[in-house]
């Protein structure tokens, strides 16, 4: 099987969908000619393959980029636009939150907005808080948006293809740390459904729900816990909205314990939503209080020791697991 970083997997998905459907086009800052010449990046080579008519480099204008997607999608095109870093979602957010997410509803179901907003995210680059700020919970708070955060290259490819074919606006968040971690990706064509979590590791003692850049540390923590006789089940959420309650609840039913782990900050983070769902619908399954392993409530600092302090890791998960098992 081929091994690809997440950026390459995204690149394959874009390529395949652009070949399949002439309505698919991409737009964003540097999606054609970029300051990076790097085969690991998601849009490398697309301009050469599809030309400037379908690979649109835009000015530094996030509101216009998002609005371009909304308007073009209403006309039946399938835009895939890129927001360079997650914090710049705020500049695009009016078009996404107030328009992409609401206009179908406002039309009484007559219109649809089949667009994808790809966002590069994640801490760990020493770039500081105006480049690293995970805002997935903001997007998930908006009815009308699907929010996807894959953790593996294979899922990224299959889910981006599904997102492009989906008739809803999809926020597709890629962790840049995963661009450089080659992982197996099937050679043949496939789609991975949105809204379906994936159990990446079976376990009987504890459920860990996680996504995106945190899957790696969660899996390695699970291995270490296993050496101490604690078997963690790792649920890779993959899609935040619509939320796959069924997979979460049935796992918690089996294990009786829950930890939610995400890189984003704690207060108002999506872990709170999952915790609430489990309290409402799976309270009787719980043998111990649930735990959240998250970033602390601070902007992501630039200095390496501070940034490492920020990013939740294997050790934090092991500690939380031992508190409740």
């Amino acid at each position: 099987m081929q091994k690809l970083g997440m950026g390459q997997a995204v690149n394959q998905a874009l390529r395949e969908e652009m070949h399949r459907d002439p309505n698919v086009f991409i737009a964003g800052e540097g999606v054609g000619v970029s300051i990076h010449v790097n085969p690991m990046f998601p849009t490398t080579g697309l301009l050469e393959e599809f030309g400037p008519g379908r690979v649109k480099d835009t000015p530094v204008s996030e509101a216009a980029i998002a609005g371009l997607a909304v308007g073009a999608a209403e006309a039946g095109l399938r835009p895939v636009v890129e927001i360079m870093f997650n914090p710049f979602f705020t500049l695009a957010s009016d078009m996404i939150v107030n328009h992409a997410a609401k206009l179908r509803y406002l039309s009484g179901g007559k219109s649809s907005f089949p667009l994808v907003v790809r966002i590069k995210s994640g801490a760990g680059f020493g770039a500081g808080c105006q480049h690293s700020h995970n805002l997935e919970a903001w997007a998930a708070h908006c009815p009308g948006l699907k929010v996807v955060m894959p953790s593996t290259s294979a899922d990224a490819k299959g889910m981006l293809k599904s997102a492009i074919r989906d008739d809803n606006p999809v926020i597709f968040i890629e962790h840049m740390g995963l661009y450089f971690a080659p992982m197996p990706v099937p050679e043949e064509e496939y789609l991975t459904p949105l809204g379906k979590a994936d159990i990446k590791r079976q376990g009987s003692d504890l459920t860990v729900v996680t996504w995106s850049g945190m899957l790696g540390p969660a899996m390695s923590a699970a291995q270490k816990l296993s050496q101490e006789g604690i078997e963690a089940e790792i649920v890779d959420l993959r899609t935040l909205t619509p939320l796959d309650k069924e997979t979460i609840l049935s796992s918690v039913k089996k294990t009786g314990r829950l930890i939610v782990m995400h890189e984003a900050t704690r207060t108002g983070g999506f872990a709170g939503e999952i915790a609430a769902v489990v309290m409402e619908e799976g309270f009787s399954y719980l043998k111990a209080p649930l735990r959240r392993v998250t970033g602390p409530d601070i902007p992501v600092p630039a200095s390496p020791p501070l940034e490492r302090f920020y990013i939740p890791g294997e050790e934090d998960l092991i500690k939380a697991a031992k508190e409740i098992v």
């Binding site: 800052e29 540097g30 000619v33 970029s34 300051i35 990076h36 010449v37 480099d57 835009t58 000015p59 530094v60 204008s61 996030e62 509101a63 216009a64 914090p87 710049f88 500049l91 680059f125 020493g126 770039a127 500081g128 808080c129 105006q130 480049h131 602390p296 409530d297 601070i298 902007p299 600092p301 630039a302 200095s303 390496p304 020791p305 501070l306 940034e307 490492r308 302090f309 920020y310």
Partner: protein, 320 residues
């Protein structure tokens, strides 16, 4: 109006300091693990920050963007504290929270470096509003690039500043590139300064590699603002001689274009004039260069020797 000799010397000094500072960073940022984050430099654009800041008084404010080092040094920020922050050390001006990209030096009225493109413009409006509100004899300068002029914030900020006649200079550092895009690939209007008319404010085009021209334009705009004449848009035409950041191979910038602009370097342009008109001797120029070099060496040593912050310090400074 004549430019005082002292001002010319001051501008040469800040340009030399900025150049030595960025030249040292070119090398330092190649060393694995030495400096985190993206290294964004303004080599060749020194005339802009140096010329503008020479026209300001200490009470005037600057709001700057990702390409900030020259602006901050010219405004009088301590090179040691800047360098230590760039190294992400505890002794840096922001205790390692900001790193190279978000240097904040409120002590010299440079309270904010924002890397969100276009972020400087509305903040400058607010800062200038406070100056007007308190009837201060001071202005705000907002630095931004040609790329930033295509964010919606540009439109909102310029309109509001003109409407309320706020004491602000919108200083567009047009270095011909925004990321990998050449100017004409992102903007149709030939001179950004022309947009000023649409907001009811004067727009001025300046040779951004001529520090004296930059100084004069900033001084005039400042004077007008202090007299209640409101904002000015100044477009300094210059060139980004290096990549967007230091990892950018500049594959999209024609080599001869880079070379042509390197030949228009603002530093010899001023120093040659000062030497040939005998304002300074070539020995004095050498002395100025080695003083700048010494300041940068001291700053690097200070940064190297400083400790990193303790991890738990990450939790400090979120709230007052």
């Amino acid at each position: 109006m004549e430019i005082p000799t002292q001002k010319k010397i001051e501008m040469l000094e800040t340009m030399l300091l900025s150049r030595k500072f960025s030249d040292s960073l070119v090398e330092l940022c190649k060393i694995q693990g030495k400096i985190p984050g993206m290294m964004i430099l303004s080599t060749g654009q020194e005339a802009v920050g140096s010329g503008v800041c020479a026209a300001l008084e200490p009470g005037d404010v600057i709001i700057t963007n990702h390409r900030s080092h020259n602006h901050l040094l010219s405004k009088g920020a301590d090179p040691k504290e800047l360098m230590a922050e760039i190294f992400c050390k505890k002794t840096g001006c922001n205790k390692g929270k900001s790193g190279t990209l978000h240097l904040a030096v409120p002590e010299v009225n440079a309270p904010c470096t924002t890397t969100v493109v276009g972020g400087t413009l509305p903040i400058a409006v607010g800062r200038a509003f406070a100056q007007q509100y308190r009837e201060e004899s001071a202005i705000t300068v907002c630095f931004f690039g040609d790329g930033a002029a295509n964010e919606g914030s540009f439109h909102e900020a310029l309109n509001l500043a003109a409407l309320w006649q706020l004491p602000v200079i919108f200083l567009c550092e047009n270095n011909l590139y925004a990321g990998a895009q050449r100017y004409e690939e992102h903007t149709r209007v030939i001179d950004l300064a022309k947009r000023a008319g649409a907001y009811g404010m004067p727009g001025v085009i300046v040779d951004g590699n001529d520090v004296q021209a930059v100084y004069a334009a900033a001084r005039d705009a400042r004077q007008r603002a202090l007299e209640g004449g409101g904002p000015t848009l100044i477009e300094c035409k210059t060139y980004r001689c290096r990549g967007h950041g230091e990892t950018d191979p500049q594959h999209y910038q024609p080599r001869d274009e880079i070379k042509q602009w390197q030949e228009k370097c603002p530093i010899p342009r001023l120093s040659d004039e000062l030497v040939s008109s005998r304002v300074i001797s070539s020995e004095e120029l050498k002395g100025m260069e080695s003083r700048a070099e010494k300041i940068v060496e001291d700053a690097i040593r200070f940064a190297e020797e400083s400790p990193y912050p303790e991890p738990h310090e990450a939790l400090e400074d979120v709230y007052v």
